[in-house]
């Protein structure tokens, strides 16, 4: 019952911000509120939403993943490199498929490496993912020789890829699909139950014979996978593979998870909370930008919202 109330509370907060955004929205020449236009509403969802889903799992185990932004950069770089390289005799669709698979596989591997080091060497997740945040960024820059890899607007395979994957339906569909998958994973599977149990009390999990090592490795692998997938979408949206992409994304993802009520020390939290947290941050950003609020002021307002959201949950 209390849980339901608390969840309702964050949904009410989201509705409040939505209404506020609609009221203060600038109007177009025909009198329509720009905020409410379909083209704008679909902008609310950013790639960070996808990353936040796996970040929820990481934080539920009591960990943190600072490397998601760098892994995203590695993925955009790899997918752009793959697409701009000539592949004689391959069809467009298999060329695109293999480029995406390679980028996502490399990202998943980077995440798995985080997990293996954290779980088997028992080093703090903060330290390990801080290191890979630096190292993977370096790898992305080194591979691309520190240059953007442009995806043109012509008729080649790269342009075709961008045309497909920057489609709003694909982006939003990916998010909805991933959110549903992760929601089921957390609430309806043995794996999800283990994730929460380990975060709630690792020692007790050990005394119950739970597979702590494997669960941790899986969680960081999933984080790498979703960051890599977000990187593919980033390349399409921006028509380039950019090794400098995704800077500070980890902080926005963590903010969305925390606003969604997931406990930073692990064990307690939900995917539905993270979805609400992501939407609150998204609507807020969109509202402030539509009203031409200075982006520096935007950061200050977000700071207040993060602390406020957690303070309200603490008071429960």
């Amino acid at each position: 019952m209390m849980g339901l109330l608390r969840r309702a509370q964050s949904v009410v907060a989201l509705l409040g911000i939505l209404i506020l955004a609609a009221i203060v929205s600038p109007t177009a020449s025909d009198g329509a509120r720009i905020f409410l236009e379909a083209g704008n509403l679909t902008d609310i969802l950013s790639l960070i939403g996808i990353i936040s889903l796996a970040m929820t799992f990481v934080i539920l185990t009591g960990g943190i993943d600072l490397s998601v932004g760098s892994i995203l950069a590695l993925s955009t770089t790899l997918v752009a490199m793959g697409l701009t390289r000539a592949w004689q005799g391959a069809s467009y669709s298999s060329h695109i498929l293999w480029a995406i698979l390679a980028a996502v596989a490399a990202s998943t591997l980077a995440g798995a490496l985080n997990g293996v080091v954290i779980a088997s060497l028992r080093i703090q997740p903060f330290v390990v993912t801080l290191a890979s945040m630096i190292g993977v960024r370096g790898l992305a820059k080194w591979l691309s020789r520190n240059e953007n890899i442009d995806i043109g607007f012509g008729r080649d395979v790269a342009a075709r890829f961008a045309e497909i994957f920057r489609e709003k339906a694909i982006v939003i569909g990916s998010y909805v699909g991933a959110a549903a998958l992760f929601w089921v994973l957390l609430s309806r599977t043995v794996f999800g139950r283990h994730v929460r149990a380990i975060g709630d009390n690792e020692k007790a999990a050990e005394y119950t014979g739970l597979p702590i090592l494997a669960t941790r490795i899986w969680v960081y692998s999933l984080s790498g996978l979703l960051s890599g997938f977000a990187g593919v979408l980033y390349a399409a949206e921006n028509h380039q593979g950019n090794p400098n992409a995704g800077v500070a994304y980890e902080l926005d993802a963590i903010a969305a998870v925390v606003i969604g009520g997931t406990r930073l020390s692990g064990g307690k939290g939900s995917i539905s909370g993270t979805i609400v947290g992501t939407l609150i941050m998204g609507v807020l950003t969109n509202m402030l930008r539509l009203n031409n609020v200075d982006s520096n002021v935007e950061m200050m307002i977000k700071a207040v919202i993060i602390v406020l959201a957690v303070a309200v949950q603490r008071a429960e």
Partner: protein
């Protein structure tokens, strides 16, 4: 129990000290009087309230009510600094020193005797420390990190530190619990030297032989009450044991002699970092008790059987087959289960629900097509909760909202669901109410009746006598004695556990 020999007021007198932690009474109306220049033992079983009283006298814990007088004048001891000003020093069981700071820094930190501005000069520090270190018999450089000293010398440093704070009253909480033979001797001669110089020492312990070696008087606590104060010269260890354990408890009666089957677990020469050559056999339908003081190796026995501590030598056999579990998961596959002593830290996921906690050991069998079936989980849990009378508003309630007794039942339910052949219960009734205790005893009876082997660790001797067929007494990681239920008495067990009089098996 004694007459006042002189009219001079006691150095320290505590009257009517009460303290509750949550709903549990740790101390109820405790009286304690300390004279100048004596070593006064504070003795009692685990949980009798000895450490709580010591912490109250040292200002680390505030009593709910009661008065403390020093030299006949009422004293308010609200904080450790107040205690220091009144000349009371304490040496905790887990030394409250800083291993990565130097010895000199450890002497200086929090020391009112040294507070002169905020800078401490090394020359002044050395001059300040030297006499106290010499008194404590320590010869070491002030620049060395404390961590380089062996534990026995750290104990001496803690004494030197207390002396440098002008302590007239020195409280020592289980000071020998982690010391070797030599270090114990050094500490005892220091204690005698301090007494001769007029320092009053409160010696908290449950080791009866030590009390007879260094103490002048002893105050016995039991269940948070003062039972009496005796002159050591005029008493015997048997008398003190009787005072420590002599309680009457109304209990459910144990079933008549149980029928036992084959050997379900045999342990031969089991040795780990804490255990030395332990051997015993456990039969189907048997409840084997494990008694011993804290630190005697009771929990470590569970850790070795359950794959948590590496086994250095010895053989475990499950139903005749040698096993060597290296993790709890492996032990579970061999049909061994364990409920840990500390249910909060090692047992339960406090923010997760009763249902989620209960089914954690059997989750894989709760799936259909890879998805957990809530209905299957609920019906599985319901089967065991009836057997142990688990009361909770709903199985969706978070475990942290339940009483201690019901939390323990959730932990037990988790293992009843897995249904291992051997279940090691580590002090399952610690800190829970009388009614819940009886429910757990009944669950233990049921397990034995269905042919399981149960190992029950407990600090409460009446509980072991109530539940067990045989009782294994551990001391210093070794088997000190084994008693049949028929021949065991609290006095015999306590004596074997403390080695007050020899009864080695």
């Amino acid at each position: 129990m004694e007459s006042d020999r002189n009219s001079q007021p006691d150095l320290l007198q505590a009257d009517g000290i009460r303290k509750h932690f949550g709903g549990v009474a740790a101390l109820r109306a405790v009286h304690f009087a300390l004279r100048t220049g004596e070593v006064h033992a504070l003795i009692g079983e685990n949980g009798a309230g000895k450490s709580t009283l010591a912490k109250i006298l040292a200002g680390a814990v505030r009593p709910d009510s009661g008065t403390i007088a020093i030299d006949g004048h009422p004293a308010a001891i609200g904080t450790p600094l107040d205690a220091q000003r009144l000349g009371i020093g304490i040496i905790y069981q887990e030394l409250d020193l800083f291993p990565s700071l130097t010895i000199g820094e450890n002497m200086a930190i929090g020391n009112l005797g040294l507070r002169e501005g905020s800078l401490v000069r090394s020359a002044r520090l050395a001059a300040f420390c030297r006499p106290y270190l010499e008194q404590a018999g320590l010869h070491c450089s002030l620049q060395e990190p404390l961590g380089t000293l062996p534990i026995g010398k750290r104990q001496l440093l803690a004494v030197a530190r207390a002396l440098s704070m002008n302590a007239r009253i020195l409280l020592m909480d289980e000071p020998t619990s982690s010391l070797s033979g030599d270090a114990v001797e050094r500490l005892f001669s220091l204690i005698r030297a301090l007494r001769d110089r007029g320092v009053a020492i409160v010696y908290v312990s449950h080791k009866i032989d030590e009390i007879f070696r260094v103490c002048d008087r002893a105050t016995v606590l039991r269940d948070g009450e003062t039972i009496g104060t005796v002159e050591i010269a005029g008493t015997t260890s048997a008398e003190i044991i009787r005072l420590m354990v002599g309680r009457d408890l109304r209990m459910t009666v144990r079933p008549d002699r149980r029928t036992m089957g084959d050997v379900v677990l045999s342990v031969e020469g089991l040795t780990t970092h804490k255990l030395k050559s332990i051997s015993f056999e456990l039969r189907r339908g048997e409840v084997l008790g494990v008694a011993g003081l804290v630190g005697a190796g009771r929990s470590e026995l569970g850790a070795a059987l359950f794959g948590l501590d590496p086994i250095r030598s010895g053989v475990l056999r499950r139903a005749g087959v040698p096993i060597a579990p290296r993790s709890p998961g492996e032990a579970m596959r061999h049909g061994i289960g364990l409920t840990p002593e500390d249910r909060r830290d090692e047992g339960l996921m406090m923010s997760m629900s009763v249902l989620e906690n209960g089914t954690l050991t059997v989750l894989p069998s709760m799936q259909r097509w890879g998805f957990l079936r809530g209905s299957r989980e609920k019906s599985a849990l319901a089967k065991v909760t009836d057997r142990i009378a688990l009361h909770c508003p709903s199985t969706d309630a978070a475990v942290e909202t339940l009483s201690g007794g019901n939390q323990q039942k959730v932990l037990l339910a988790r293992w009843l669901l897995l249904d291992p052949e051997v279940l090691f219960l580590d002090d399952p009734t610690r800190g829970i109410d009388v009614g819940a205790k009886q429910d757990i005893y009944r669950a233990i009876d049921d397990l034995a009746a269905t042919g399981k082997g149960v190992i029950l660790v407990s600090s409460e001797l009446p509980e072991l006598l109530r539940c067990c067929d045989r009782i294994l007494v551990l001391r210093d990681g070794q088997v000190a004695a084994v008693y049949d239920a028929a021949e065991a008495t609290q006095e015999k067990i306590m004596a074997a556990a403390t080695s007050a009089f020899g009864d080695r098996a």
